[in-house]
Assembly symmetry: C2
Homo-oligomer: 507 residues x 2
């Protein structure tokens, strides 16, 4: 016996030309009626027979929709008929989300994860209240300027465009100009390829070089210590990593193997070694380039934050020293520090002799960067927005760096490494063991301050260096980022740090 329904006709309306199937449409509309309170908890629905007649659809359509909603917990089925569930499950996120309204320009929006948060396990301190001084997070609060918003508005108005595999020709023109002005690199826009950031560019280079060596795994020299995010990529493709020790001038070319075990590729950040901060002097750069030419290897230059320099001018990119016609340097560019990490936009600067190969490969694999993003960035660069934003952020970061140096002055323990650029600093704590380092980071997290340990930046593999083939002993200490925190929070965090280090001292 069907339950009594107060609806002669359920207020639903199906369309055979809509994209959703009839049962899906029906289920969605009933769900909406429940959520809006039109259909109330415990209320009976029409029988499937009655509703199918009303809507002129098969009875199976109604039965399917009812069953789906029973499965989802909106309805309950009983011998007496189908009713609205009396205890509704809480709304899901997708139902709670605010639809885009043409009127609203801004939204506070929910809190989103930072890359560091998403890559790391949750720490004891609540993410809400913690002072997050982990490295790698720039300040994006001033990015949405008028020219930024205008660029995206204009790009969104013409969503139909598509670009060649190397990227928008106009964006490549703008990038070539940007490189000329900021990195002293004078190169043809044709040598540039738009990428979804450094990792996308690195993957493409690895794929191309593997084809060149007929599929054997590549040998890739990396800095030790070095940037783990990029070093994990070759491992995922089965390539070999050769860690090479760095000193105060960066990677040591003298330690690179030259025999049959010589690397095919050397990955390094010559302008700002990560995390120790060295800027490689010109003499060593020339030595590295000579090694690469002699050994037929490529140099992959990770130029991730050279625009952010506080003392002296940045050295020109390694690519600017490369020998025209016999280039060995491939440069990975990224806007993740200068603009925003979530933007996933960067570029590859290619030797002319690799251009065709890489672009052909890119055509087969697909360029993952949205045309709309490319167009928006083109407009942003052409309007001078990037130049203005960079100048502004340099002023802000310079002040914040000064705050950091003051706050780290006369630490109870440890020494602060020189920091001429970038958005992070390193506190070396000699005498600390691995377990003590981990305890320190945990203790800081408990106190509400998130930082990173220094030791884990060293490779667990044996190292090519110092004549021996032992694993290099990691330095212990802390890596602190100061890009993404407001001044007040930075001062607060540094106060906490001093306090915890005082408990730790003497070392």
């Amino acid at each position: 016996m069907a339950a009594y329904s107060r609806f002669d006709r359920l207020p639903v309306n199906l369309s055979r030309s809509a994209s959703a199937s009839l049962p899906a449409q029906l289920a969605e509309q009933i769900r909406a009626l429940v959520l809006q309170g039109v259909l109330q908890a415990g209320e009976a629905l029409p029988s499937s027979r009655a509703l199918s007649q009303q809507l002129n659809v098969s009875r199976g359509t109604v039965v399917f929709a009812y069953e789906q909603l029973v499965g989802e917990g909106y309805l309950t089925a009983s011998p007496g008929g189908t009713r609205v569930a009396s205890q509704l499950a809480p709304l899901t996120d997708s139902q709670q989300i605010q639809p885009a309204s043409p009127k609203r320009q801004k939204t506070s929006g929910p809190t989103f994860q930072t890359p560091a948060e998403s890559a790391q396990p949750p720490t004891p301190a609540s993410q809400e209240t913690a002072l997050d001084l982990r490295p790698g997070i720039p300040d994006t609060s001033l990015l949405a300027s008028a020219s930024w918003r205008a660029a995206w508005r204009q790009a969104a108005a013409s969503p139909g465009r598509t670009f060649p595999p190397a990227g928008s020709p106009q964006l490549r023109q703008q990038l070539a100009q940007h490189l000329r002005l900021t990195r002293s690199v004078l190169r043809d826009p044709q040598d540039l390829m738009v990428t979804a950031g450094a990792r996308d560019g690195f993957r493409l280079v690895l794929t191309a070089l593997r084809l060149k060596v007929r599929g054997r795994p590549l040998r890739i020299a990396v800095e030790n210590p070095g940037y783990p995010s990029l070093q994990r990529i070759p491992l995922a493709f089965g390539h070999q990593i050769l860690p090479v020790e760095v000193d105060q001038d960066g990677l040591q070319p003298a330690l690179l193997p030259t025999g049959p075990e010589r690397p095919d590729l050397v990955l390094l950040a010559p302008s700002h070694q990560y995390p120790l901060g060295a800027s490689m002097p010109v003499s060593r750069r020339l030595e590295l380039l000579a090694w690469a030419r002699k050994n037929g290897a490529y140099i992959l230059e990770d130029d991730y934050d050279s625009e952010l320099r506080y003392r002296g001018d940045p050295l020109p990119a390694l690519a600017a020293l490369d020998q025209a016609g016999a280039e060995r340097v491939i440069t990975l560019g990224s806007f993740s520090k200068l603009l925003a990490p979530g933007l996933n936009l960067g570029f590859l600067l290619l030797p002319a002799h690799l251009r065709q190969e890489l672009i052909g490969l890119r055509a087969d694999l697909g360029n993952p960067v949205s045309s709309l993003t490319q167009e928006a960035l083109t407009l942003f660069l052409a309007s001078g927005g990037l130049r203005r934003h960079t100048a502004r952020m340099r002023r802000i970061y310079t002040a914040r760096r000064q705050l950091l140096l003051t706050g780290l002055d006369n630490l109870p323990r440890g020494r602060v490494l020189p920091m001429d650029g970038g958005l992070h600093t390193v506190i070396h704590l000699p005498g600390l063991g691995a377990a003590e380092e981990a305890q320190l980071v945990a203790r800081l997290a408990e106190a509400g301050l998130l930082v990173e340990a220094l030791g884990p930046y060293w490779s667990p593999q044996r190292t090519s260096g110092q004549g021996n083939q032992e694993r290099a002993e990691p330095w212990r200490g802390l890596v602190l980022g100061f890009g993404g925190v407001p001044d007040r929070k930075l001062e607060q965090g540094l106060g906490l740090l001093r306090q915890v280090l005082r408990e730790l001292a003497p070392g």
Copy 2:
């Protein structure tokens, strides 16, 4: 002797805190003065000594800037001093580009390449005037609706967000709902990963599966004929392709090898085989799934345009038939047909048992999709924009398909294959040879009509099928897209086609 300069002081202004080097700033400002006409053709510039004194910079800075501008053709150097060149080179694209203005909302913008144009060599007919009926191009002219623009505006206002490696949780919620409503797939948002389109998803799956088989090349069964864009990807990574013949019901599971040479992965488009158009019946889908379970293989379902269906409801996705807990189907989703190909946005629907592995790999390799794009799409889906756009485009494409069928009625030669969905059709021309097919396409291009040849969709490799191991004989004919052309142009193109086919007949 220095030339006389009418400038006591050149109106330039250098900043030591700007991101560009001093010579670069100086060169840029002089370049701007020339382009603005402040410095006129033939006019003398101050001597390097005078300008260096004015600006309080080293003389080398000025010399460097002048030399760069001489190299670029803005200035000329002579014994009498440095002057503005009398014949300026034409402006480059990057100088001509319109900067984004906060006031302008729309721009007509330059013409950009379609994906087909960028992937193919130029054809004899001018791209400007040609009727482009090549497949793969949807109509994007109606995409920039109010809710589309609002979604991007809102997303651009908060550029700082970043998302976990699998993508925005809210976008995955929206996508799960979209799949439920349009593809009868009831799955947890956790099983979804946001991708930069089908090719990005395919690459990730290949990398993960290769790790599972400890690095040996994978064997990948593909449809013959099939979609070349996806098939080129495994080849770039050194995997093996096994072409398997399709019939009027799609890929034939009976032809899949089961011995030691069995494929690790079967790539197919069960809802709409490309290019022949078959929709695989349920019985064959079940057969395929049983084969996959028995052989421990995965099925990669390319679900590229199922929402665009004109006759009958689309069959549910293959993933909807998959056995919960023992899933073998990975679905590649894409918005390139439903929204725009340049958007580069899609998703992967993963078996729960692959979820952790794939997300871990994604964390190492990086998700290339911009957070801003993810946020904009979330808002667009949440506001119902996608649903409205799909319904609208189905009406338009349904009418355009009718126009096409009418225009192809009683062709002088060839038969039109049934076309129940999608944005293309196939004209089979039995009796035509490979050379004649190529001539026909060239003849049409000369007449101003761009279409694709059918034969090249067949694999040049030997085929697994019909008991033999011979290369399958390609069908000859034409593939026509009708998505991206206005009705008038479509009619015009079909008129041209009839005319050229009439010259060709009888076959």
